[in-house]
């Protein structure tokens, strides 16, 4: 390994070391999962982790980019998963399997799918015990898969939540829903939540930062 050059900023070096430590935990390397560019600097999904979301569109957003890159994904327990919306947000339906109604076997079905696909979206029907969650986490790390939980999950790596949303395009009996400004908060452990504002969905084009557009305007003005 070559020695780090002195020119590198110190915090970058620190971050690299932290990444390496995190990667070496449990003896299994934790590979970064490609994350949607709109969320990229807030959140880095890694294999072996469980991430909580609280809205369907956030779940689809996390599935979309890896799915486009060729990863298989599975959706367990979400009978009301909007297929057309998922396709609009970029989920490749040809590499997606649904188990809409796993009943009481939801944990076993999820475990079977975690073995073979790289992303699993799970909507637990009730509370998840800490024991079940830790066993699933061990399995996730072993199989290098990522779990996105639409609901609560004890010991999750991060919680991505929709703080507020405001729809535009609709008025008092006229118009139609066109786009939404959504404030997304990423809570990791006990650290303060990091927020960003997204067009989710945007009126046209892909999901993107609201601020990026504002920055562009500011730069022009």
């Amino acid at each position: 390994m070559s020695a780090p050059t002195v020119l590198e900023p110190r915090d970058l070096q620190l971050r690299q070391l932290q990444e390496r430590i995190r990667g070496m935990q449990d003896g299994v390397p934790r590979i970064p999962v490609i994350t949607h560019p709109a969320l990229a600097d807030l959140l880095q999904l890694r294999t072996g982790g469980a991430y909580e979301v609280d809205s369907a569109s956030l779940a689809m957003l996390l599935l979309a980019t890896p799915s486009q890159e060729g990863a298989w994904s599975a959706v367990v327990g979400a009978a009301d998963f909007g297929i057309e919306a998922a396709a609009e947000l970029g989920v490749d339906l040809t590499r997606t399997v649904l188990v809409p109604d796993p009943g009481e076997h939801w944990l076993e079905a999820t475990a079977a799918l975690v073995d073979v696909v790289s992303l699993v979206l799970l909507r637990p029907p009730g509370d998840v015990t800490a024991r079940a969650a830790s066993r699933m986490d061990a399995r996730l790390r072993k199989r290098a898969s990522t779990l996105i939980v639409w609901g609560r999950w004890p010991g999750s790596e991060a919680r991505i939540s929709l703080r507020s949303s405001s729809w535009s395009g609709v008025g008092e009996g006229h118009g139609r829903l066109t786009s939404r400004r959504a404030v997304i908060a990423v809570q990791r452990g006990s650290a303060p939540a990091r927020e960003t504002e997204l067009w989710l969905p945007a009126a046209e084009g892909p999901v993107r930062r609201v601020r990026a557009a504002a920055d562009a305007r500011a730069a022009l003005g």
Binding site: E84, A86, V97, V99, D101, A109, E172
Partner: protein, 527 residues
């Protein structure tokens, strides 16, 4: 080598009439030998029978013209697959008499003429004609000659159920009297152009063409002309390409004594399932669709269950056994106990070369691992618990999506790319409820909001209450009513017009709701 050609004239008509796709009344009227019938595409006549020809119907004629010449003409849809399928029994019947059948096209086949085996060529022709009439093909004509072209022309000049034998070395003499128009029939490669040219050059008969020096014909007409020249001289060297009889790949498992328990059946068929897959594998084939049939052990051997299973990749032995398990479990238990299974049969419905399904160097197609994981979930939850999401056309969000069980091919889906006027505009809702939630929507004074007959709301909706939200939620903004004008002919949809609304609560969550005469329903959520 002598060639025997069997010609069944107007085969598309014969196939269509024997297929039973036409309504029974029509068949009854048409199966008599005198009813005029024609097979038509959307615009033109593809084939017609003798009676229709007597009325002046011709190949290539427009459908309207054909009907005007013969108003009682029975019109049959064109279906080349059906023609091929219906010709298969004819091939099999001839193959039983002499192997090495070369199917030329539906209605026309060639074999090497049997010499002395059936007591001479004419006896062989008589035998073939008799066999084909026995399987219900009434109009059979047979020609025997030195080469394929002459034999076909001889068959076309034979009587119904008759034959015409061109003596050895007699092809040239036989062909020389034929008009050049015979080059048109059955040739797809521009024979018509050449016929027109020959006629304008004053060459009326094949003999005139044959009399020209081969070198001059090649110079003037090119390679195709040279080929036709060879045909006309009766020295066509092309031998019919014979087919190998299709192997019998159906596997049967007989239970002695008959078994009533699904587990016992699955255990017993495992070895035969392995043999079934191995036998396909010996021929370099894999099966992607298998029909599994279970028969009872009674005198009539009644079919207990029959179902075709499709695999997303191809069937291994374990997959076949799984399918037997699922199929027999799904059969009502009472039936199974009442009639123990005496026989299970595997019929490979679709076989494909194994090379087409080989694993690519970098993977590809359905991932093998995914298949295995899904199979485990299927074993846990049942066959249709794992589905593939697909989009389809429709107006409501629930209509615009469909679930196809893993491994099955989607059928009967509406095309999603059509405009579908009246559909809910995009963005699509992220949650679509299979069962809409009952909802109440009221105005500012608490009066229920309804949609009037003229498609307007009775008052401005002010707050709503649905299954998901606790308590009443004030409405921030709303859009609608968008009238739902679907299936008004169904009595169950009610008298009042239904309408859809997009409603945004003050918490920023948006919903798609529907109002009909039974009340308000939350159909989907923009979560």
């Amino acid at each position: 080598m002598r060639v025997l050609v069997v010609w069944c004239p107007d085969w598309p008509v014969v196939a269509a009439l024997s297929d039973g796709e036409v309504a029974d009344g029509e068949v009854a009227a048409a199966t008599g030998p005198v009813a005029p019938a024609a097979v038509v595409t959307r615009s033109a006549v593809v084939a017609c029978n003798t009676r229709a020809r007597d009325h002046g119907v011709r190949r290539g004629m427009r459908r309207r013209d054909a009907q005007s010449r013969c108003p009682e003409l029975l019109l049959l849809d064109d279906n080349p697959d059906r023609d091929v399928r219906a010709f298969e029994p004819v091939l099999a019947a001839v193959e039983a008499l002499r192997p090495g059948v070369a199917p030329l096209r539906p209605g026309l086949l060639a074999i090497r003429a049997p010499g002395r085996f059936y007591g001479g060529e004419e006896h062989a022709a008589a035998l073939i004609a008799e066999r084909l009439v026995a399987i219900g093909v009434w109009d059979v004509r047979i020609g025997i000659a030195d080469d394929l072209f002459s034999a076909e022309q001889a068959a076309r000049r034979a009587e119904v159920q008759g034959w015409r034998v061109i003596v050895p070395e007699g092809s040239a003499a036989f062909l020389s009297d034929l008009p050049v128009e015979v080059l048109e029939t059955g040739s797809d490669d521009g024979g018509g152009d050449l016929v027109g040219l020959l006629q304008r050059l004053g060459l009326r008969h094949l003999g005139d063409l044959a009399a020209l020096p081969a070198r001059d014909v090649l110079t003037r007409f090119g390679a195709y002309g040279a080929k036709v020249h060879r045909l006309a001289r009766g020295v066509d060297p092309v031998q019919p390409a014979t087919r190998t009889p299709p192997p019998d790949l159906v596997t049967e498992v007989v239970f002695e004594p008959p078994l009533a328990s699904v587990e016992a059946i699955c255990f017993s068929v495992r070895q035969q399932a392995e043999e079934f897959v191995a036998r396909l594998g010996e021929r370099g084939l894999v099966s992607t669709a298998v029909r599994i049939e279970a028969e009872a052990d009674d005198v009539r051997r009644s079919l207990l269950s029959s179902r075709t299973w499709v695999h997303s990749r191809w069937f291994g032995a374990g997959d076949v056994v799984d399918r037997v398990h699922w199929q027999l479990q799904a059969t009502p238990a009472g039936v199974l106990v009442g009639a123990p299974v005496g026989l299970v049969r595997f019929v490979p419905e679709t076989v494909e070369p194994a090379a087409a399904h080989a694993d690519g160097l970098w993977g590809g197609g359905t991932d093998d691992r995914v298949d295995r994981g899904v199979a485990r979930v299927q074993a846990m939850l049942g066959y249709d618990a794992v589905v593939v999401p697909v989009r389809q056309g429709g107006r409501s969000p629930a209509d615009r999506q469909a679930h196809v069980p893993w491994g099955e091919r989607p059928t009967g889906l509406r095309p999603p790319d059509l405009p579908w006027p009246g559909r809910v505009p995009s963005p699509a809702p992220t949650r679509v409820f299979a069962e809409p939630w009952a909802t109440s929507v009221v105005g500012a004074a608490g009066q229920p909001v309804v949609v009037t007959d003229r498609g307007a709301v009775s008052c401005v909706p002010a707050r709503f209450h649905s299954g998901s939200t606790a308590g009443w939620q004030p409405i921030d903004s709303w859009a609608g009513p968008w009238p739902v004008d679907e299936q008004w002919w169904e009595s169950s949809t009610g008298s009042r017009p239904a309408a859809r609304f997009q409603i945004v609560g003050v918490d920023g969550r948006a919903w798609l709701m529907r109002c009909d005469d039974r009340g308000w329903w939350t159909e989907a959520s923009y979560d």
